[in-house]
């Protein structure tokens, strides 16, 4: 039996559709991310699960019972808010103890569980500090400990890392994943940061304009995006316009003279090919492939980022810094990639 089921979940504000008939099943212990740009309905979905927003239609079933019939305070979900929403007038330990107190747990047992939760997030030393006297990362950990200490049936994270700086965010991502694995709580994360979603989750739900675009494992969504939106939202993508033509060995994609074999059936006519920047290989001008001229190159430490002019438009290429010499700006080169790394769909460039 699936752990959490969303059935045709819909939220309408006047004529505005915030979430349109969303279906999702989550297994016990799974880490699922709702990913999308702002206004895509991901936070509204989370708030409907939490009970702060009433759905217009549809149902939410948690472990076989109808969650919508349960008051928000009785749902027993652990929530970490974007602003952390700590109680500023009490200490970190008192913040963590709050949920246990509301459950009527005796003082001694409460103290033991609070100590345990603070140790889990590595904050035992700061138990008596007030939230205002803590850094963003520390507040974040208190919020996580406070949500986990009540042994929630599910953990809901609303953009929990968006207020942290880049380095701390990366550390917290790893830590969040480790803690989630240790505790084993089913988790739903809302984020607009595709790298965060891919780093943390078992599956991502890519949303746009209130609609689910794709539900898949991160690698799958990245390498086989279900829609042009997913392709452009998850990482960078090159879009080349060309033509699908029927050849003697079946259909091929013609990109200004260079032909690629097609793995899937695409009707003949104008078509768009999508290739990830890191799947494109740069070779000398004499090699076989698409001719290009280097416009700019940017050194990024582990990578070189190239912008190149090709007959089919501007291409972006990410080349690993493997010590080999890289073409300079203005140099003529050839671009190539494996047909399997390319997805082709019918249509002309917008």
């Amino acid at each position: 039996m699936p752990f959490l089921v969303l059935e045709g979940l819909t939220k309408r504000y006047g004529d505005q559709l915030a979430v349109e008939s969303m279906d999702l099943t989550v297994e016990k212990g799974e880490f699922v991310s709702l990913l999308g740009p702002s206004g895509c309905g991901k936070t509204t979905t989370l708030q409907m699960i939490a009970g702060f927003v009433d759905p217009t239609a549809g149902g939410i079933i948690l472990e076989g019972r109808d969650l919508l019939a349960v008051r928000p305070s009785k749902r027993g979900l652990g929530i970490v808010f974007q602003s952390y929403a700590l109680f500023p007038h009490i200490t970190a330990a008192e913040n963590v103890a709050f949920g246990l107190e509301m459950r009527g747990i005796a003082k001694a047992e409460r103290d033991r569980q609070v100590d345990e939760a603070l140790a889990l997030v590595g904050l035992s030393a700061l138990a008596d500090r007030y939230p205002r006297r803590m850094s963003g990362g520390q507040q974040q950990r208190v919020a996580l400990a406070r949500a986990l200490v009540i042994k929630p049936s599910m953990l809901l994270l609303d953009e929990p890392l968006s207020n942290l700086d880049a380095k701390l965010r990366e550390e917290m991502q790893i830590e969040l994943r480790t803690i989630q694995r240790t505790v084993g709580t089913t988790t739903i994360l809302v984020t607009h940061d595709q790298s965060e979603a891919m780093a943390l989750s078992d599956r991502v739900v890519v949303m746009n304009k209130g609609r689910v675009e794709q539900i898949a494992r991160p690698e799958e969504a990245y390498s086989r995006p279900a829609s042009p939106f997913v392709a452009s939202f998850l990482g960078k993508t090159n879009v080349f316009s060309g033509e699908v033509v029927e050849g003697p060995d079946g259909a091929v994609f013609d990109l200004s003279g260079t032909r690629f074999k097609l793995s899937a059936r695409v009707p003949a006519g104008p078509a768009l090919a999508r290739v990830r920047p890191e799947r494109v290989t740069i070779a000398a001008a004499s090699a076989v492939g698409i001719r290009a001229k280097v416009r700019t190159r940017v050194f990024q430490g582990a990578h070189w980022l190239f912008q190149l002019d090709t007959p089919a438009g501007v291409a972006v290429v990410l080349a690993p810094n493997d010590g080999a010499s890289m073409p300079r700006e203005g140099e003529d080169v050839t671009l190539s990639w494996k047909p399997a790394d390319m997805s082709v769909s019918a249509g002309a460039a917008a």
Binding site: G51, S83, F87, F98, M102
Partner: protein
């Protein structure tokens, strides 16, 4: 800018305001304190001779003690009533949706735009022995004879509370607005009932606002003049009306100055100590 003029700049910039403050506030205050040590007689008037006579008279006569105790009692009652009315009102106001919030806020602040004298005279009409309140209660059969609100402490407290409750509402409302609405949701998600959210999460966070509102209301109630003068009249004196009478009716300016100085000292001590207490308690918690 040279180093010398940079050092002078703060003094030059604050100079004009400091001068106004010195001339219009500190000088008259100093003069009043000085006046309280002058001699006075029915026929000789004010004599510029140093004496403690006025101070001894005020401290030893139980009449003055009674007036000061009454002032304190009224100010405390008004403060407590303003808290009881103002805190829930501010909370409700804060939960209202935009168009209504603006309208009700205007209703709350509106009375501040009307002169205190006009408002108090209105209360005099309501509270009088033939006023609407008494007549209403009698015709409802709740009272046989009219209750004397006029010239009573109850009447002064009712009218002063009405005059001062907006200050409490605004102070509490300002601190309610600073709350993160997600904090209430966080408490709910942790299993808090609505009353627990209010008691354990919302109220403690607005305590600084409540306390500063209470300090304002207390100070204004203790030094109020118009309302006690109209509702309390000559029979029911408070410190402010007492000082006024000494100055303008008895013409015993030095004695009035003692009363005024004592009231000022009491208020400054009350405000400063409560502020200190608030700051010490909340320094860690709030910025």
């Amino acid at each position: 800018m040279t180093a010398g003029s940079a050092r002078l700049a703060p003094y030059l910039l604050t100079g004009p305001a400091l001068l106004v403050c010195l001339c219009l506030l500190l000088a008259p205050l100093g003069a009043t304190v000085l006046l309280s040590f002058y001699d006075w007689g029915q026929y000789k008037g004010i004599v510029e001779e140093f004496t403690l006579k006025n101070w001894v008279e005020v401290v030893s006569d139980s009449y003055f003690l009674e007036v000061f105790l009454r002032t304190l009692r009224i100010a405390l009652a008004v403060t407590v009533l303003s808290m009881l009315l103002g805190i829930p009102e501010a909370y409700i106001l804060n939960r209202m949706s935009p168009p209504w919030r603006g309208i009700f806020l205007l209703i709350v602040i509106g009375p501040l735009l009307i002169s205190v004298v006009a408002r108090t005279l209105g209360w005099a009409l309501l509270l009088g022995s033939t006023g609407i309140l008494n007549q209403g209660l009698i015709s409802l059969g709740l009272l046989k004879t009219p209750v004397e609100f006029m010239f009573s402490e109850t009447g002064v407290i009712i009218a002063l509370t009405h005059v001062l409750v907006p200050f409490m509402i605004l102070s509490v409302w300002a601190s309610l607005q600073r709350l993160d609405p997600q904090v209430e949701n966080a408490a709910i998600s942790l299993g808090a009932t609505p009353s627990a959210v209010l008691r354990r999460v919302v109220l403690p966070q607005v305590v600084p606002g409540i306390l500063s509102g209470a300090v304002i209301v207390f100070a204004l109630a203790a030094s109020a003049f118009a309302t006690p003068a109209i509702i309390g009249g000559r029979r029911l004196k408070v410190a402010a009306t007492l000082a006024y009478d000494e100055f303008l009716n008895t013409l015993n300016w030095p004695l009035g100055a003692v009363v005024a100085t004592l009231l000022l000292i009491a208020l400054v001590v009350a405000v400063v100590t409560s502020n200190r207490m608030i700051e010490r308690r909340y320094a860690q918690v709030f910025e």
